[in-house]
Structure formats: C-alpha cells, structure tokens
C-alpha cells in the first residue's frame, strides 16, 4: 500500500503545492491535501492554537487536524529562506514546533528545513534528504526533483499569465477553467499574502466579490518575483520577510501600471510583518502617486463579517467610479 502524506491546504500551499505534489507522486507516494477551509476547520484551529496567533496560523492548525487521522505522516517543512535576502516570518520558522506543541496525537511530522540560500539549486538538497528519509535512491530523487520543478515552472507560467492560484492548479490537473480575459470597468490590484488572499473562507472571497462587481483583479503573482524583489529594494532597509517583500514590490509595480484604479491590501489581524508593510504602503502610495491612487486596507480575523466586507468593497468601488465620472 502506498504511503500517504498529508499536505495542509494553507500557508505555503498556494506558493509551492504543485512542486511537492509532483515530487511525491513521482516517488509513488499519495499526497492527501486537506479540504477547502470551512467554519469547522477554522474553529478547530482557533481552539487549539495559541490565542495570540494570526488567523492563517490558526487555520493551519485546523487543516492539520483534518489530516491527522487519515495519513501516515504530515508534511510541514520549516520554511526558512528561499534566497539570500530574506527569511520567512518567525511563525513559519517555528511552525512545526508550534503544531507539535499545540496538537496532541499527531502522526509523524516531516519538518525538513527549507533553507535554499545555503546551497545552489533551490529545493534540491531538501528533496534529496526527503527521498533518503523515505527510502529512495539518489537517481529516483533526482528524477522526482526534475519533474517537480517542471510542474512548478508550468504553475508559475500560468500565474504570470493571469490565472489565480486555485485556477492554475486546476488547469494543471487538466480541468477546464475560465480564461483570463479582462473586460471589467475597473482595475484593482488586490495585494496580500497568498494564504490570506486566496483562501476563500478567511478572505471572505474578496476576489470573487470584486469579480462579480465587474472588476479586473490584479495580484502579485502576476508579476515576475525577481521584479518584485528589485522594486521592494527601494526602501532604505529591505524588509526581513519573503512574502512582505513580494507584496511591497507589487504595490510599487502597480503604482507604475497606468490603468490601475486602486490598490487593496488584505491583511490578517495582528499580523506582525504587515504592521510595517501596511504602513509603508499607505505612506508610499500616497506620496508616489501624489495622493491620486486610492488605497484601502482590509484586516481580517475570525470575527470578520461577510456583510461588512461587502459594504466596504461596494463603497470603495462607488468612490472609484465617481472619481472616474468626475475626472
């Protein structure tokens, strides 16, 4: 019987899942991903995780709980660095330890350290170690690694072409998804950490709501990460965290894109890095656009209500449409 490895559909899921799926599949391992977020999953996570944690971390605990009785092991890599400039948020660094300390009766946790700045070739050393742990040889590991990279590249290409992460993953699986044609009245950049923006439950489906309001949504995944990194180097001292630099770079990118009508920042209540990112965005968007580009920040926690978000989005869009009428 094949080995089953659980993959919680939260946090880095939206950035790296195709890679790990392809890698494990090639080795003949079954990857079990947790179901899309529901109220029950979030409630379970919030109950077990430490109270001060941000909602994405609580949610991650919830997703781990859905997997714990179904799989032989759970994959929670310790994401430390992807390049030499930045690390992940401290909660990512301590994630396997937090999960282990907070949840009881877990299957083994595979908590390989992903520190890609130490070696060339990104994830290769981690893949080799993983394959060795699971009893595969170097040759098999290399083949699986190549295939994983291939899948990840295809995924990145779809994101750059304007597909949202879940659509792109579906398309990789060969499902039919709607195209990326843009014909809405307004163009909004919706920026934020992928695990916050694309989780339809905790983001209260902001993107879906905007699309229904006839808005073209632009996200940070649609821009090449190296460009985002270059742009985020504009502030006097580079931010320490990987995703924060991407978000900040994306706001500078969309500031330069002529057709953008406004920028929305989606953040989690109590998110440490975002306390800085949000303030920098607010100050710099106003300064660099001479106060012309509207900026809205939406902060989300377990108590955020659907109606409240809808009202705020509607008001924002009305304001943009009015401005356009007057301009």
């Amino acid at each position: 019987m094949a080995l089953h490895i659980g993959f919680p559909a939260a946090l880095f899921y939206y950035s790296h899942f195709p890679f790990w799926l392809a890698f494990f599949n090639r080795l003949g391992i079954e990857v079990v991903q947790s179901p899309p977020t529901t109220k029950a999953i979030l409630d379970d996570g919030s109950r077990e995780a430490v109270a001060d944690a941000c909602i994405p971390i609580k949610l991650f605990h919830g997703h781990v709980l859905t997997l714990k009785d179904k799989v032989d092991a759970i994959f929670i890599p310790r994401m430390v660095r992807l390049n030499k400039y930045t690390t992940f948020c401290p909660k990512f660094l301590g994630l396997p330890d937090m999960v282990r300390a907070s949840l009881a009766n877990l299957p083994p946790i595979i908590d390989f350290k992903v520190d890609a700045c130490r070696c060339m070739g990104g994830f290769w050393s981690i893949c080799r170690g993983l394959a060795e742990l699971l009893g595969f040889g170097l040759r098999q590991a290399w083949a699986a690694y190549l295939e994983a990279r291939h899948h990840q590249n295809a995924y990145q290409k779809l994101l750059l072409a304007g597909y949202l992460p879940l659509q792109a993953m579906a398309k990789l699986k060969g499902e039919a998804v709607e195209g990326t044609v843009r014909e809405g009245k307004l163009n909004l950049a919706v920026l934020g950490y992928p695990y916050q923006v694309y989780d339809q439950y905790i983001s209260l489906d902001v993107i879906g709501k905007l699309k229904k309001m006839d808005v073209n949504v632009w996200t940070m995944e649609m821009v090449n990460p190296s460009r985002l990194y270059r742009l985020s180097g504009r502030i006097p001292k580079r931010l320490f965290w990987h995703y924060s630099n991407l978000v900040l770079g994306a706001s500078y990118h969309y500031l330069q894109q002529q057709n953008i009508d406004g920028i929305i920042h989606i953040t989690a209540f109590g998110c440490g890095p975002d306390a800085m990112v949000d303030k920098i965005m607010e100050m710099d968007i106003r300064r660099l656009s001479n106060g012309r580009l509207p900026f809205m920040s939406i902060s989300i926690d377990e108590q955020t209500g659907d109606a409240g978000i809808t009202t705020r989005l509607e008001a924002f869009i009305d304001m943009l449409l009015q401005r356009r009428g007057n301009g």
Partner: protein, 370 residues
C-alpha cells in the same frame, strides 16, 4: 552644540546621557515613559505594531519637540520586526514633517565596515578622537554595568525588607548617586555607597521567598513602566525574581556575539530554530529556570510580538515536561495595572500552594521511614 537624544529603556538612560554629554553634545534626556508618551506613539504608529514601537515613537516625538536634532538608536538583523524600527520611525516622523538626523547602528557583526563608517561620522560631528571615545565608552559601560548590578541587588533584597517599599525608595536614591558619578573613580565610589545602602536595609531573613524567573521580550522586560513594575510588585509579594535579560549581558552575548548558545541548545528539542528576538531564548531559559529549582516562570511579551507568540505556543509543553508553572503576560496599550496585579497574585498563590504540597509530601515520606 548639537542636541542629541536616544530611546528610553529602563535605567540605561543614565549611561547614554553620560556617553552623549561626554562626546560634547547636549543630551536631550528622554522623559520617563508615561501614558501620554504612549498615547502619542499610538496615534501615529501602525495599529498592529508592538508596544515598544509605539512607546519609542512617542518618546521620539517628545524629544524632537524639546529640540533634539539627532537621534541615535540601534538596528537589528531580523526576523523580528525591531530591526526595522529605526527605518520605520524615521519614515513616519519625516512624513509628519520633522527634520532631524538619525543614526541607526546595526550590530557590528552584520557589517563591521558600515558600523565603523557610521561611528566615524558621529565622532567627526562631535569632534572626538578615537582614543578619547574609547575612554568615554569605557565609563558609560561601567555605569550601565553598575545600574544592572543595583537592579539585581534590589530584587534580591526586596522580599526580605521589613518596611514595605524601602528598597525601592533607596534604589531611587542610588540612581541619583549614580547619575552624579562621572569618572571611573566616582563610579566605583558610588557603587560601594549604593551597595552598602541597599545591604543595610532592615531585613527579615527568616522568610522563605519563592523564586520566579522572568523571560520575554527585552524592551518590556527592561522598562518598568511597560511591565507594570513586575519585579517590584512581585518583590513586595515576597518573591525573588530573576530576569533573564540585563542590558550589559545582552550586549555582550547578543549584539557583539552570536547569542547565548547554551540557552539555545536547551531550547532545541522544543524549538529547533532561531526565530528572532528572544523567542528561542524564552523557551531555553524556562528550561534553565526549571533545572535550577525555580518555583515558576513568567513570560512577558508585547501584544503581536511574533517571536514571543511562537515561544508562547511552545511553553505549555515545556511547562508540562519540566513540571514548572508558566504564566504568560501579554502587554499592550490597554493593559491595566490592576488586572496584571491580580494575575500575579493568583500565580504566586498557586506557587505557594504547590510548594506546601510538595513539602507536606516530603514530610510524610520522612515520617514513613520513622
């Protein structure tokens, strides 16, 4: 003469004041943090920034209004946010229209060359030679060390004092003595006088104080206003506290070196990764306190402090494994003194009961052999 200021952290301002004045600047001594300082900081800081950020921002606003032209502060390497605070403070203050110079010193190990160049620029503005600077730093350092020593001495004596509040009163008297001491000789003399002052407090040595270790984030640990005088409060409840961080010790282990390795080693089975700030230390130090026979540990952390949240989620397990009660206090601008005192009282009661139960059990075992 340039007016220079710095952040307020515990009693270290006395050392920094001397440093700045000896360099020939006029020191704008930051006021003691107060509700008003905090409120001003809260107005302009990001909502989810931690309370040290807000307090320091409020302090800067106050010193700038009192005419400071230059601010000297520290940087950091992350992944804790504090390393970016200098830059953020500057950005926010400039955005508000303040004009000033700011020197942010990152730990020398991360870039000895930039550190050197920055320092050279400061010395040039001051017109101080390197040789003179070495002497200035030596004396400021001696003062900081003395301040730390006095604080420690006071904490050890306080639970034994017969007249409640006397230690604190004499400690503040000592601060005045230390403030006046300038030369190495005067500092040594002040040390002797202060120590004898504190040691001569009437004490009841028959008491058996509990021992509590305090771990957590450096700013809230060092600034009594922020931690609601936790050491004094506990001391007057009859508890000896040991704080895991003192400024001079922190500077030698963490700023000029790579951190306290043994404490991090201890934390490894529970938190196998440096997470910035003092997160990993908090776990390791809790284990250390448990091994050294302390009765309990209190973790003090600012609200939204990321490294301490990581530690906080792991501490319950450490507490179970090592049988040492841990209380986590989270501090933000809404934290009230009465609430904290109640929680401390409850915690101390719990520890007392535990000790009594343990001792009853031990006595019972003795009887059995009899």
């Amino acid at each position: 003469m340039k007016r220079v200021s710095f952040a307020h952290m515990g009693y270290s301002y006395l050392g920094f004041q001397q440093l700045v004045e000896d360099m020939g600047f006029e020191a704008i001594v930051p006021p003691h943090p107060s509700r008003a300082t905090l409120d001003r900081g809260v107005t302009y800081a990001p909502e989810y920034a931690c309370i040290p950020f807000k307090m320091v921002l409020g302090t800067y606003l106050e010193v700038l209004e009192r005419g400071a032209q230059m601010i000297i502060t520290s940087g950091g390497v992350g992944p804790c946010r504090a390393g970016l605070y200098g830059m953020m403070h500057e950005k926010i203050l400039r955005n508000l229209g303040y004009d000033f110079e700011i020197f942010i010193f990152d730990p020398p190990l991360t870039g000895i060359w930039t550190f050197f160049l920055k320092l050279r620029r400061v010395l040039k503005t001051a017109g101080v030679s390197w040789l003179a600077f070495v002497d200035i730093v030596r004396r400021a350092w001696a003062k900081l060390k003395l301040l730390d020593e006095l604080e420690q001495t006071a904490t050890v004596i306080r639970p034994y004092e017969i007249n409640k509040g006397e230690t604190t009163r004499l400690f503040h008297q000592c601060l005045k003595l230390v403030e006046q001491a300038r030369s190495m000789k005067e500092i040594t003399a002040a040390r002797e006088e202060c120590i004898s002052l504190l040691k001569n407090i009437p004490q009841d040595r028959t008491r058996r104080p509990l021992k509590i270790g305090i771990v957590g984030e450096i700013y809230v640990l060092l600034e009594p206003f922020m931690n609601l005088d936790i050491e004094k409060t506990l001391g007057e409840m009859g508890v000896i506290t040991h704080r895991s961080i003192y400024l001079t010790q922190y500077t030698t282990t963490d700023v000029l070196s790579h951190g306290a390795q043994d404490v991090r080693q201890l934390a490894h089975p529970y938190l196998n990764q440096f997470v910035g700030g003092h997160g990993q230390n908090s776990v390791g130090e809790t284990i250390l306190y448990a091994r050294n026979g302390f009765d309990g540990v209190i973790q003090v952390a600012p609200f939204t402090c990321i490294p301490e949240i990581v530690a906080k989620s792991i501490l319950p397990r450490v507490s179970r494994d090592f049988g040492i009660p841990v209380l986590s206090l989270t501090i933000d601008e809404q934290t009230g003194r009465a609430g904290v005192e109640t929680r401390l009282e409850a915690f101390v009661d719990l520890l007392r009961q535990r000790r009594e139960q343990r001792e009853a059990k031990r006595d019972a075992a003795l009887l059995f052999g009899y």
